[in-house]
Symmetry: C2
Subunit: 291 residues, 2 copies
Protein backbone atom coordinates (compact mmCIF):
# COMPACT_ATOMS: atom_id res chain seq x y z
CA UNK A 1 0.00 0.00 0.00
CA UNK A 2 1.20 3.50 -0.88
CA UNK A 3 0.34 6.74 0.90
CA UNK A 4 -0.29 10.00 -0.94
CA UNK A 5 -0.33 12.96 1.43
CA UNK A 6 -1.93 16.19 0.21
CA UNK A 7 -0.79 19.68 1.15
CA UNK A 8 -3.30 19.97 4.00
CA UNK A 9 -2.23 16.75 5.75
CA UNK A 10 1.53 16.51 5.41
CA UNK A 11 2.03 15.77 9.09
CA UNK A 12 -0.68 13.13 9.36
CA UNK A 13 0.51 11.41 6.16
CA UNK A 14 4.14 11.31 7.33
CA UNK A 15 3.21 10.03 10.80
CA UNK A 16 0.86 7.48 9.29
CA UNK A 17 3.58 6.22 6.94
CA UNK A 18 5.87 5.74 9.95
CA UNK A 19 3.19 4.02 12.01
CA UNK A 20 1.94 1.54 9.43
CA UNK A 21 5.34 1.29 7.75
CA UNK A 22 4.12 1.89 4.25
CA UNK A 23 5.89 4.18 1.74
CA UNK A 24 4.88 7.75 0.93
CA UNK A 25 4.39 8.50 -2.76
CA UNK A 26 6.37 11.26 -4.43
CA UNK A 27 4.11 13.91 -5.89
CA UNK A 28 4.22 17.46 -7.25
CA UNK A 29 1.73 19.99 -5.98
CA UNK A 30 1.70 23.54 -7.21
CA UNK A 31 -0.66 26.40 -7.81
CA UNK A 32 -0.87 28.36 -11.04
CA UNK A 33 -0.86 32.19 -10.95
CA UNK A 34 -4.68 32.10 -11.03
CA UNK A 35 -4.61 29.89 -7.88
CA UNK A 36 -5.67 26.71 -9.68
CA UNK A 37 -4.06 23.56 -8.29
CA UNK A 38 -1.80 21.18 -10.15
CA UNK A 39 -1.38 17.60 -8.95
CA UNK A 40 1.01 14.99 -10.31
CA UNK A 41 1.85 11.61 -8.82
CA UNK A 42 5.46 10.78 -9.70
CA UNK A 43 5.55 7.07 -8.86
CA UNK A 44 3.97 4.22 -10.80
CA UNK A 45 0.88 3.08 -8.89
CA UNK A 46 -0.86 0.95 -11.50
CA UNK A 47 -2.48 -2.01 -9.76
CA UNK A 48 -1.50 -0.75 -6.28
CA UNK A 49 -3.59 0.12 -3.24
CA UNK A 50 -3.34 3.82 -2.47
CA UNK A 51 -4.24 5.71 0.68
CA UNK A 52 -4.97 9.38 -0.07
CA UNK A 53 -4.61 11.56 3.02
CA UNK A 54 -6.03 15.07 2.78
CA UNK A 55 -8.00 17.24 5.18
CA UNK A 56 -11.18 18.25 3.35
CA UNK A 57 -11.05 21.87 4.49
CA UNK A 58 -11.04 24.65 3.43
CA UNK A 59 -12.54 24.78 -0.11
CA UNK A 60 -9.29 24.89 -2.12
CA UNK A 61 -8.09 21.77 -0.28
CA UNK A 62 -11.34 19.98 -1.13
CA UNK A 63 -10.73 20.71 -4.82
CA UNK A 64 -7.11 19.58 -4.44
CA UNK A 65 -8.40 16.32 -2.96
CA UNK A 66 -10.72 15.77 -5.93
CA UNK A 67 -7.75 16.30 -8.27
CA UNK A 68 -5.58 13.89 -6.23
CA UNK A 69 -8.34 11.29 -6.55
CA UNK A 70 -8.57 11.90 -10.31
CA UNK A 71 -4.80 11.45 -10.72
CA UNK A 72 -4.66 8.28 -8.59
CA UNK A 73 -7.72 6.76 -10.25
CA UNK A 74 -6.45 7.56 -13.74
CA UNK A 75 -3.03 6.10 -12.93
CA UNK A 76 -4.75 2.74 -12.44
CA UNK A 77 -4.68 2.31 -8.65
CA UNK A 78 -6.39 -0.91 -7.57
CA UNK A 79 -8.08 0.35 -4.42
CA UNK A 80 -8.37 3.95 -3.25
CA UNK A 81 -8.86 4.64 0.45
CA UNK A 82 -9.45 8.29 1.26
CA UNK A 83 -8.42 9.44 4.73
CA UNK A 84 -9.99 12.74 5.77
CA UNK A 85 -8.32 13.76 9.04
CA UNK A 86 -10.91 16.56 9.21
CA UNK A 87 -14.11 16.36 7.20
CA UNK A 88 -15.06 19.95 6.40
CA UNK A 89 -18.69 20.99 6.08
CA UNK A 90 -19.62 18.32 8.63
CA UNK A 91 -21.65 20.78 10.70
CA UNK A 92 -24.17 21.32 7.87
CA UNK A 93 -25.29 17.70 8.30
CA UNK A 94 -29.03 18.12 7.74
CA UNK A 95 -31.61 20.58 6.51
CA UNK A 96 -32.05 23.02 9.35
CA UNK A 97 -34.38 24.95 7.04
CA UNK A 98 -36.22 24.10 3.82
CA UNK A 99 -34.20 24.69 0.65
CA UNK A 100 -30.76 24.34 2.23
CA UNK A 101 -27.94 22.34 0.74
CA UNK A 102 -26.87 19.47 2.99
CA UNK A 103 -23.26 20.45 2.50
CA UNK A 104 -21.62 17.47 4.20
CA UNK A 105 -23.67 15.13 2.01
CA UNK A 106 -22.63 17.02 -1.11
CA UNK A 107 -18.93 16.86 -0.19
CA UNK A 108 -19.23 13.17 0.76
CA UNK A 109 -20.89 12.26 -2.53
CA UNK A 110 -18.17 13.94 -4.55
CA UNK A 111 -15.37 12.33 -2.54
CA UNK A 112 -17.09 8.96 -3.07
CA UNK A 113 -16.76 9.25 -6.85
CA UNK A 114 -13.18 7.93 -6.92
CA UNK A 115 -12.92 6.16 -3.56
CA UNK A 116 -13.44 2.57 -2.47
CA UNK A 117 -13.43 3.38 1.23
CA UNK A 118 -13.31 6.52 3.40
CA UNK A 119 -11.87 7.04 6.87
CA UNK A 120 -12.34 10.14 8.98
CA UNK A 121 -11.54 11.24 12.54
CA UNK A 122 -14.12 12.36 15.11
CA UNK A 123 -16.85 13.40 12.68
CA UNK A 124 -19.12 16.08 14.15
CA UNK A 125 -22.06 13.64 13.87
CA UNK A 126 -21.70 9.92 13.21
CA UNK A 127 -24.60 9.81 10.71
CA UNK A 128 -22.66 11.83 8.14
CA UNK A 129 -20.65 8.69 7.37
CA UNK A 130 -23.77 7.41 5.63
CA UNK A 131 -23.55 10.27 3.12
CA UNK A 132 -20.64 8.51 1.45
CA UNK A 133 -21.76 6.06 -1.20
CA UNK A 134 -18.83 3.79 -0.28
CA UNK A 135 -18.02 2.20 3.10
CA UNK A 136 -16.94 4.93 5.55
CA UNK A 137 -15.42 4.51 8.99
CA UNK A 138 -14.47 6.86 11.77
CA UNK A 139 -11.95 6.69 14.56
CA UNK A 140 -11.47 8.91 17.57
CA UNK A 141 -8.47 10.96 18.66
CA UNK A 142 -9.83 11.21 22.21
CA UNK A 143 -7.48 8.55 23.58
CA UNK A 144 -4.45 10.28 22.03
CA UNK A 145 -5.56 13.60 23.57
CA UNK A 146 -6.20 11.84 26.92
CA UNK A 147 -2.68 10.39 26.90
CA UNK A 148 -1.30 13.90 26.51
CA UNK A 149 -3.52 15.27 29.30
CA UNK A 150 -2.52 12.41 31.61
CA UNK A 151 0.95 13.96 31.95
CA UNK A 152 -0.60 17.25 33.04
CA UNK A 153 -2.15 16.24 36.40
CA UNK A 154 -5.68 17.10 35.34
CA UNK A 155 -8.24 16.77 38.17
CA UNK A 156 -11.28 16.49 35.99
CA UNK A 157 -12.43 16.62 32.38
CA UNK A 158 -15.39 18.72 31.27
CA UNK A 159 -17.60 18.46 28.23
CA UNK A 160 -18.76 21.85 26.90
CA UNK A 161 -22.37 20.61 27.03
CA UNK A 162 -24.46 17.58 27.93
CA UNK A 163 -24.49 16.27 24.35
CA UNK A 164 -20.70 15.93 24.37
CA UNK A 165 -20.34 14.21 27.73
CA UNK A 166 -19.49 10.79 26.30
CA UNK A 167 -16.27 12.23 24.89
CA UNK A 168 -15.36 13.66 28.34
CA UNK A 169 -16.23 10.34 29.96
CA UNK A 170 -13.99 8.45 27.53
CA UNK A 171 -11.04 10.77 28.21
CA UNK A 172 -11.62 10.70 31.99
CA UNK A 173 -11.68 6.91 32.02
CA UNK A 174 -8.32 6.77 30.24
CA UNK A 175 -6.81 9.41 32.54
CA UNK A 176 -8.48 7.83 35.57
CA UNK A 177 -10.09 11.06 36.79
CA UNK A 178 -13.62 12.41 37.16
CA UNK A 179 -15.70 14.04 34.42
CA UNK A 180 -18.66 16.33 34.16
CA UNK A 181 -20.34 18.64 31.68
CA UNK A 182 -20.92 22.37 31.66
CA UNK A 183 -24.45 23.56 32.18
CA UNK A 184 -25.76 26.96 31.14
CA UNK A 185 -28.30 28.53 33.50
CA UNK A 186 -30.06 31.76 32.63
CA UNK A 187 -30.08 33.64 35.93
CA UNK A 188 -32.00 36.70 34.76
CA UNK A 189 -33.15 37.98 31.36
CA UNK A 190 -29.65 38.31 29.93
CA UNK A 191 -26.95 36.77 32.14
CA UNK A 192 -25.99 33.15 31.62
CA UNK A 193 -24.10 31.23 34.28
CA UNK A 194 -21.88 28.38 33.13
CA UNK A 195 -20.99 25.80 35.80
CA UNK A 196 -20.07 22.14 35.96
CA UNK A 197 -23.25 20.16 36.61
CA UNK A 198 -21.97 18.35 39.73
CA UNK A 199 -18.28 19.03 40.36
CA UNK A 200 -16.66 22.04 42.03
CA UNK A 201 -13.82 23.69 40.09
CA UNK A 202 -12.31 25.43 43.12
CA UNK A 203 -8.56 24.79 43.32
CA UNK A 204 -8.69 22.22 40.53
CA UNK A 205 -6.79 21.62 37.28
CA UNK A 206 -9.52 21.34 34.71
CA UNK A 207 -9.57 20.43 31.01
CA UNK A 208 -12.48 21.05 28.64
CA UNK A 209 -12.58 18.67 25.70
CA UNK A 210 -14.54 19.16 22.47
CA UNK A 211 -14.47 17.83 18.90
CA UNK A 212 -14.09 21.18 17.13
CA UNK A 213 -12.89 24.59 18.28
CA UNK A 214 -13.99 27.12 15.67
CA UNK A 215 -14.23 30.77 16.79
CA UNK A 216 -13.68 29.76 20.42
CA UNK A 217 -16.36 32.08 21.78
CA UNK A 218 -18.27 29.61 23.98
CA UNK A 219 -15.01 28.01 25.06
CA UNK A 220 -13.61 31.40 26.15
CA UNK A 221 -16.75 32.14 28.18
CA UNK A 222 -16.51 28.75 29.89
CA UNK A 223 -12.85 29.36 30.80
CA UNK A 224 -13.67 32.77 32.31
CA UNK A 225 -16.51 31.29 34.39
CA UNK A 226 -14.39 28.39 35.63
CA UNK A 227 -11.60 30.77 36.62
CA UNK A 228 -14.13 32.94 38.46
CA UNK A 229 -15.29 29.82 40.27
CA UNK A 230 -11.71 29.29 41.47
CA UNK A 231 -10.27 26.78 39.00
CA UNK A 232 -6.47 26.73 39.34
CA UNK A 233 -5.81 26.00 35.66
CA UNK A 234 -8.12 25.53 32.69
CA UNK A 235 -6.85 23.81 29.54
CA UNK A 236 -8.88 23.26 26.38
CA UNK A 237 -8.40 20.34 24.03
CA UNK A 238 -9.99 19.39 20.74
CA UNK A 239 -9.53 17.09 17.80
CA UNK A 240 -10.12 19.70 15.11
CA UNK A 241 -8.64 23.11 15.87
CA UNK A 242 -10.00 25.54 13.29
CA UNK A 243 -9.13 28.58 15.45
CA UNK A 244 -10.83 31.14 13.20
CA UNK A 245 -12.18 34.62 13.94
CA UNK A 246 -9.58 35.47 16.58
CA UNK A 247 -10.09 32.24 18.57
CA UNK A 248 -6.50 32.17 19.85
CA UNK A 249 -6.73 35.72 21.21
CA UNK A 250 -10.14 35.03 22.77
CA UNK A 251 -8.88 31.91 24.53
CA UNK A 252 -5.68 33.51 25.77
CA UNK A 253 -7.40 36.65 27.01
CA UNK A 254 -9.86 34.38 28.88
CA UNK A 255 -6.73 33.20 30.75
CA UNK A 256 -6.62 29.75 29.16
CA UNK A 257 -3.62 27.84 30.49
CA UNK A 258 -3.08 25.54 27.54
CA UNK A 259 -4.59 24.95 24.13
CA UNK A 260 -4.23 21.42 22.74
CA UNK A 261 -5.28 20.14 19.34
CA UNK A 262 -4.41 17.27 17.01
CA UNK A 263 -2.92 17.80 13.54
CA UNK A 264 -6.11 17.10 11.56
CA UNK A 265 -5.74 20.81 10.90
CA UNK A 266 -2.09 21.79 11.32
CA UNK A 267 -1.62 24.76 13.65
CA UNK A 268 0.78 25.85 16.40
CA UNK A 269 -1.49 23.95 18.82
CA UNK A 270 -1.15 20.56 17.07
CA UNK A 271 0.55 18.79 19.97
CA UNK A 272 -0.60 15.24 19.20
CA UNK A 273 -1.15 13.42 15.91
CA UNK A 274 -4.38 11.97 14.59
CA UNK A 275 -2.21 9.40 12.81
CA UNK A 276 -2.30 7.22 15.95
CA UNK A 277 -6.00 6.46 15.80
CA UNK A 278 -6.06 6.30 11.99
CA UNK A 279 -3.24 3.72 12.04
CA UNK A 280 -5.09 1.68 14.65
CA UNK A 281 -8.26 1.65 12.55
CA UNK A 282 -6.33 0.78 9.38
CA UNK A 283 -4.55 -2.14 11.02
CA UNK A 284 -7.90 -3.39 12.26
CA UNK A 285 -9.92 -2.97 9.04
CA UNK A 286 -7.17 -3.64 6.53
CA UNK A 287 -5.09 -6.32 8.27
CA UNK A 288 -3.29 -7.20 5.02
CA UNK A 289 -1.31 -3.93 5.12
CA UNK A 290 0.79 -5.44 7.88
CA UNK A 291 2.48 -7.53 5.21
CA UNK B 1 -37.84 27.81 -15.94
CA UNK B 2 -36.17 29.45 -12.96
CA UNK B 3 -32.67 30.91 -12.79
CA UNK B 4 -30.42 30.53 -9.75
CA UNK B 5 -27.42 32.85 -9.93
CA UNK B 6 -24.45 32.09 -7.67
CA UNK B 7 -22.18 34.67 -6.09
CA UNK B 8 -19.62 34.46 -8.91
CA UNK B 9 -22.11 35.13 -11.71
CA UNK B 10 -24.58 37.71 -10.41
CA UNK B 11 -24.28 39.88 -13.49
CA UNK B 12 -24.62 37.08 -16.03
CA UNK B 13 -27.60 35.59 -14.16
CA UNK B 14 -29.42 38.95 -13.98
CA UNK B 15 -28.75 39.74 -17.64
CA UNK B 16 -29.80 36.24 -18.65
CA UNK B 17 -33.05 36.55 -16.70
CA UNK B 18 -33.79 39.79 -18.55
CA UNK B 19 -32.90 38.35 -21.95
CA UNK B 20 -34.86 35.10 -21.74
CA UNK B 21 -37.54 36.63 -19.52
CA UNK B 22 -37.47 33.95 -16.87
CA UNK B 23 -37.53 34.69 -13.12
CA UNK B 24 -34.51 34.70 -10.82
CA UNK B 25 -34.82 32.53 -7.71
CA UNK B 26 -34.42 34.03 -4.27
CA UNK B 27 -31.56 32.43 -2.37
CA UNK B 28 -29.38 32.98 0.68
CA UNK B 29 -25.64 32.70 0.34
CA UNK B 30 -23.33 33.20 3.26
CA UNK B 31 -19.99 32.11 4.58
CA UNK B 32 -19.41 30.82 8.09
CA UNK B 33 -16.50 32.20 10.16
CA UNK B 34 -14.39 29.23 8.97
CA UNK B 35 -15.11 30.29 5.33
CA UNK B 36 -17.45 27.38 4.61
CA UNK B 37 -20.32 28.27 2.31
CA UNK B 38 -24.00 28.12 3.08
CA UNK B 39 -26.58 27.87 0.32
CA UNK B 40 -30.35 28.01 0.64
CA UNK B 41 -32.92 28.31 -2.13
CA UNK B 42 -35.91 30.24 -0.78
CA UNK B 43 -38.49 29.50 -3.49
CA UNK B 44 -40.32 26.24 -4.08
CA UNK B 45 -38.79 24.58 -7.15
CA UNK B 46 -40.22 21.06 -6.87
CA UNK B 47 -40.97 19.80 -10.38
CA UNK B 48 -39.51 22.91 -12.03
CA UNK B 49 -36.68 23.34 -14.55
CA UNK B 50 -33.80 25.26 -12.98
CA UNK B 51 -30.87 26.99 -14.63
CA UNK B 52 -27.92 27.28 -12.23
CA UNK B 53 -25.51 30.03 -13.27
CA UNK B 54 -22.12 30.05 -11.58
CA UNK B 55 -18.59 30.65 -12.81
CA UNK B 56 -16.57 27.58 -11.83
CA UNK B 57 -13.55 29.57 -10.66
CA UNK B 58 -11.80 29.95 -8.28
CA UNK B 59 -11.94 26.87 -5.97
CA UNK B 60 -14.37 28.24 -3.34
CA UNK B 61 -16.83 29.11 -6.12
CA UNK B 62 -16.57 25.56 -7.48
CA UNK B 63 -17.53 24.20 -4.05
CA UNK B 64 -20.37 26.76 -3.84
CA UNK B 65 -21.61 25.48 -7.21
CA UNK B 66 -21.61 21.88 -5.96
CA UNK B 67 -23.66 23.01 -2.94
CA UNK B 68 -26.09 24.93 -5.18
CA UNK B 69 -26.56 21.78 -7.24
CA UNK B 70 -27.14 19.74 -4.07
CA UNK B 71 -29.78 22.18 -2.84
CA UNK B 72 -31.58 22.38 -6.20
CA UNK B 73 -31.48 18.61 -6.74
CA UNK B 74 -32.69 17.91 -3.22
CA UNK B 75 -35.54 20.41 -3.56
CA UNK B 76 -36.91 18.24 -6.38
CA UNK B 77 -36.10 20.25 -9.47
CA UNK B 78 -37.18 18.46 -12.66
CA UNK B 79 -34.29 19.39 -14.90
CA UNK B 80 -31.04 21.07 -13.88
CA UNK B 81 -29.08 22.99 -16.49
CA UNK B 82 -25.73 24.27 -15.25
CA UNK B 83 -24.38 27.38 -16.97
CA UNK B 84 -20.65 27.92 -16.41
CA UNK B 85 -19.83 31.35 -17.81
CA UNK B 86 -16.18 30.46 -17.20
CA UNK B 87 -15.10 26.86 -16.78
CA UNK B 88 -12.10 26.93 -14.45
CA UNK B 89 -9.30 24.38 -14.78
CA UNK B 90 -10.00 24.19 -18.51
CA UNK B 91 -6.33 24.66 -19.37
CA UNK B 92 -5.35 21.36 -17.69
CA UNK B 93 -7.29 19.53 -20.39
CA UNK B 94 -4.98 16.54 -20.90
CA UNK B 95 -2.02 14.76 -19.36
CA UNK B 96 0.96 16.85 -20.32
CA UNK B 97 3.05 14.47 -18.19
CA UNK B 98 2.47 10.99 -16.78
CA UNK B 99 0.73 10.95 -13.37
CA UNK B 100 -1.03 14.29 -13.71
CA UNK B 101 -4.62 14.90 -12.80
CA UNK B 102 -6.70 15.98 -15.79
CA UNK B 103 -8.21 18.76 -13.75
CA UNK B 104 -10.87 19.92 -16.21
CA UNK B 105 -12.12 16.34 -16.48
CA UNK B 106 -12.29 16.03 -12.68
CA UNK B 107 -14.25 19.28 -12.34
CA UNK B 108 -16.55 18.31 -15.22
CA UNK B 109 -17.32 14.90 -13.72
CA UNK B 110 -18.26 16.41 -10.38
CA UNK B 111 -20.45 19.09 -11.96
CA UNK B 112 -22.17 16.33 -13.97
CA UNK B 113 -23.33 14.58 -10.79
CA UNK B 114 -26.41 16.77 -10.36
CA UNK B 115 -26.84 18.22 -13.83
CA UNK B 116 -28.90 17.21 -16.84
CA UNK B 117 -27.14 19.56 -19.21
CA UNK B 118 -24.17 21.94 -19.09
CA UNK B 119 -23.53 25.14 -21.03
CA UNK B 120 -20.26 27.04 -21.07
CA UNK B 121 -18.78 30.01 -22.92
CA UNK B 122 -15.65 29.89 -25.09
CA UNK B 123 -14.04 26.84 -23.49
CA UNK B 124 -10.26 26.88 -23.85
CA UNK B 125 -10.48 23.67 -25.90
CA UNK B 126 -13.69 22.29 -27.37
CA UNK B 127 -12.90 18.65 -26.42
CA UNK B 128 -13.29 19.39 -22.70
CA UNK B 129 -17.07 19.39 -23.26
CA UNK B 130 -16.76 15.60 -23.60
CA UNK B 131 -15.51 15.37 -20.00
CA UNK B 132 -19.05 16.02 -18.79
CA UNK B 133 -21.08 12.85 -18.49
CA UNK B 134 -24.20 14.80 -19.53
CA UNK B 135 -24.80 16.74 -22.75
CA UNK B 136 -22.61 19.85 -22.77
CA UNK B 137 -22.72 22.78 -25.17
CA UNK B 138 -20.64 25.87 -25.70
CA UNK B 139 -21.35 29.27 -27.14
CA UNK B 140 -19.01 32.08 -28.07
CA UNK B 141 -18.86 35.65 -26.82
CA UNK B 142 -16.78 36.71 -29.84
CA UNK B 143 -19.72 38.31 -31.63
CA UNK B 144 -20.64 40.33 -28.52
CA UNK B 145 -17.04 41.51 -28.21
CA UNK B 146 -16.95 42.29 -31.94
CA UNK B 147 -20.09 44.43 -31.64
CA UNK B 148 -18.35 46.45 -28.95
CA UNK B 149 -15.17 46.83 -31.03
CA UNK B 150 -17.18 47.88 -34.09
CA UNK B 151 -17.92 51.22 -32.40
CA UNK B 152 -14.21 51.81 -31.88
CA UNK B 153 -13.03 52.16 -35.50
CA UNK B 154 -10.66 49.23 -35.32
CA UNK B 155 -8.56 48.79 -38.49
CA UNK B 156 -7.70 45.16 -37.90
CA UNK B 157 -8.05 42.33 -35.45
CA UNK B 158 -5.11 40.21 -34.35
CA UNK B 159 -4.97 36.74 -32.85
CA UNK B 160 -2.15 36.30 -30.32
CA UNK B 161 -0.96 33.22 -32.24
CA UNK B 162 -1.77 31.11 -35.28
CA UNK B 163 -3.85 28.62 -33.28
CA UNK B 164 -6.27 31.38 -32.27
CA UNK B 165 -6.74 32.95 -35.70
CA UNK B 166 -10.26 31.60 -36.27
CA UNK B 167 -11.49 33.72 -33.36
CA UNK B 168 -9.84 36.82 -34.90
CA UNK B 169 -11.33 35.95 -38.28
CA UNK B 170 -14.84 35.63 -36.78
CA UNK B 171 -14.58 39.01 -35.07
CA UNK B 172 -13.12 40.67 -38.17
CA UNK B 173 -15.93 39.33 -40.35
CA UNK B 174 -18.53 40.82 -38.00
CA UNK B 175 -16.70 44.17 -37.82
CA UNK B 176 -15.96 44.04 -41.54
CA UNK B 177 -12.23 44.63 -41.20
CA UNK B 178 -9.06 42.65 -41.82
CA UNK B 179 -7.47 40.12 -39.50
CA UNK B 180 -4.11 38.53 -38.94
CA UNK B 181 -2.18 36.67 -36.28
CA UNK B 182 0.97 37.52 -34.38
CA UNK B 183 4.07 35.58 -35.22
CA UNK B 184 7.07 35.20 -32.95
CA UNK B 185 10.43 35.16 -34.70
CA UNK B 186 13.64 34.47 -32.81
CA UNK B 187 16.10 36.96 -34.28
CA UNK B 188 19.15 35.89 -32.28
CA UNK B 189 19.73 33.56 -29.33
CA UNK B 190 17.49 35.51 -26.93
CA UNK B 191 15.50 38.26 -28.66
CA UNK B 192 12.03 37.43 -29.95
CA UNK B 193 10.30 39.68 -32.45
CA UNK B 194 6.51 39.70 -32.46
CA UNK B 195 4.88 40.98 -35.65
CA UNK B 196 1.62 40.49 -37.53
CA UNK B 197 2.17 37.79 -40.13
CA UNK B 198 1.02 39.88 -43.16
CA UNK B 199 -0.38 43.25 -42.07
CA UNK B 200 1.47 46.44 -41.19
CA UNK B 201 0.48 48.04 -37.87
CA UNK B 202 1.86 51.47 -38.74
CA UNK B 203 -0.72 54.20 -38.06
CA UNK B 204 -3.45 51.63 -37.40
CA UNK B 205 -6.01 51.06 -34.65
CA UNK B 206 -5.44 47.45 -33.67
CA UNK B 207 -7.26 45.03 -31.35
CA UNK B 208 -5.83 41.73 -30.12
CA UNK B 209 -8.50 39.18 -29.22
CA UNK B 210 -7.98 36.05 -27.09
CA UNK B 211 -10.14 33.65 -25.07
CA UNK B 212 -8.38 34.12 -21.71
CA UNK B 213 -6.14 36.84 -20.31
CA UNK B 214 -4.42 35.43 -17.24
CA UNK B 215 -1.17 37.12 -16.14
CA UNK B 216 -1.15 39.23 -19.32
CA UNK B 217 2.61 38.76 -19.92
CA UNK B 218 2.52 37.71 -23.59
CA UNK B 219 -0.23 40.23 -24.28
CA UNK B 220 1.86 43.05 -22.77
CA UNK B 221 4.87 42.09 -24.92
CA UNK B 222 2.69 42.05 -28.04
CA UNK B 223 1.31 45.52 -27.25
CA UNK B 224 4.83 46.93 -26.77
CA UNK B 225 6.00 45.44 -30.09
CA UNK B 226 2.98 46.75 -32.00
CA UNK B 227 3.47 50.22 -30.55
CA UNK B 228 7.16 50.09 -31.58
CA UNK B 229 6.01 49.16 -35.07
CA UNK B 230 3.92 52.33 -35.13
CA UNK B 231 0.41 51.17 -34.17
CA UNK B 232 -1.71 54.21 -33.28
CA UNK B 233 -3.78 52.39 -30.65
CA UNK B 234 -3.71 48.82 -29.35
CA UNK B 235 -6.73 47.41 -27.49
CA UNK B 236 -6.95 43.93 -26.00
CA UNK B 237 -10.17 41.97 -25.69
CA UNK B 238 -10.97 38.59 -24.19
CA UNK B 239 -13.90 36.48 -23.07
CA UNK B 240 -12.42 35.45 -19.73
CA UNK B 241 -10.47 38.16 -17.95
CA UNK B 242 -8.66 36.55 -15.03
CA UNK B 243 -6.19 39.46 -14.73
CA UNK B 244 -3.99 37.81 -12.10
CA UNK B 245 -0.36 38.40 -11.13
CA UNK B 246 -0.38 42.13 -11.89
CA UNK B 247 -1.91 41.73 -15.37
CA UNK B 248 -3.63 45.13 -15.27
CA UNK B 249 -0.40 46.94 -14.40
CA UNK B 250 1.55 45.03 -17.07
CA UNK B 251 -1.00 45.87 -19.76
CA UNK B 252 -1.25 49.53 -18.80
CA UNK B 253 2.50 50.02 -18.55
CA UNK B 254 2.79 48.42 -22.03
CA UNK B 255 0.68 51.43 -23.14
CA UNK B 256 -2.48 49.44 -23.81
CA UNK B 257 -5.25 51.77 -24.96
CA UNK B 258 -8.22 49.74 -23.81
CA UNK B 259 -8.85 46.47 -21.98
CA UNK B 260 -12.16 44.75 -22.78
CA UNK B 261 -13.57 41.62 -21.22
CA UNK B 262 -16.95 39.97 -20.75
CA UNK B 263 -18.51 39.34 -17.34
CA UNK B 264 -17.80 35.58 -17.20
CA UNK B 265 -15.42 36.78 -14.49
CA UNK B 266 -16.66 40.09 -13.14
CA UNK B 267 -13.96 42.79 -13.12
CA UNK B 268 -13.68 46.50 -13.85
CA UNK B 269 -13.05 45.50 -17.50
CA UNK B 270 -16.34 43.60 -17.94
CA UNK B 271 -17.75 45.89 -20.61
CA UNK B 272 -20.01 43.37 -22.35
CA UNK B 273 -22.09 40.48 -21.04
CA UNK B 274 -21.73 36.80 -21.85
CA UNK B 275 -25.48 36.57 -21.23
CA UNK B 276 -26.08 37.51 -24.89
CA UNK B 277 -24.57 34.36 -26.36
CA UNK B 278 -25.86 32.13 -23.55
CA UNK B 279 -29.40 33.39 -24.13
CA UNK B 280 -29.05 32.77 -27.86
CA UNK B 281 -27.90 29.18 -27.27
CA UNK B 282 -30.66 28.57 -24.71
CA UNK B 283 -33.38 29.81 -27.02
CA UNK B 284 -32.01 27.54 -29.74
CA UNK B 285 -31.55 24.38 -27.66
CA UNK B 286 -34.44 24.80 -25.24
CA UNK B 287 -37.12 26.43 -27.41
CA UNK B 288 -39.82 25.65 -24.82
CA UNK B 289 -38.47 28.34 -22.46
CA UNK B 290 -39.95 30.94 -24.78
CA UNK B 291 -43.35 30.00 -23.32
Amino acid sequence: MYILGGTSAKNVAQNLANKIQQPLLQATYKRFPDDEFYVRVLDDIAGEDVLIVQTAYPDPKIVELLLMQDAVHDAGAKKITVVLPYFGYSRQDKKFEEGEAISSRAVAQHISMHADCVITVDPHKEHILKFFSVPAYSCSAVSTIAQYLKEKNIDFILAPDKGAKDRAKEAATLINCEYDYLEKTRIDGTTVKITPKKLDARGKHVAIIDDIISTGGTMANSIKELKKQGAKTVSVACTHGLFVGGAKEKLLSADCDEIISTDTIETEFSKVSAADCIAELLLKTLPHIKN
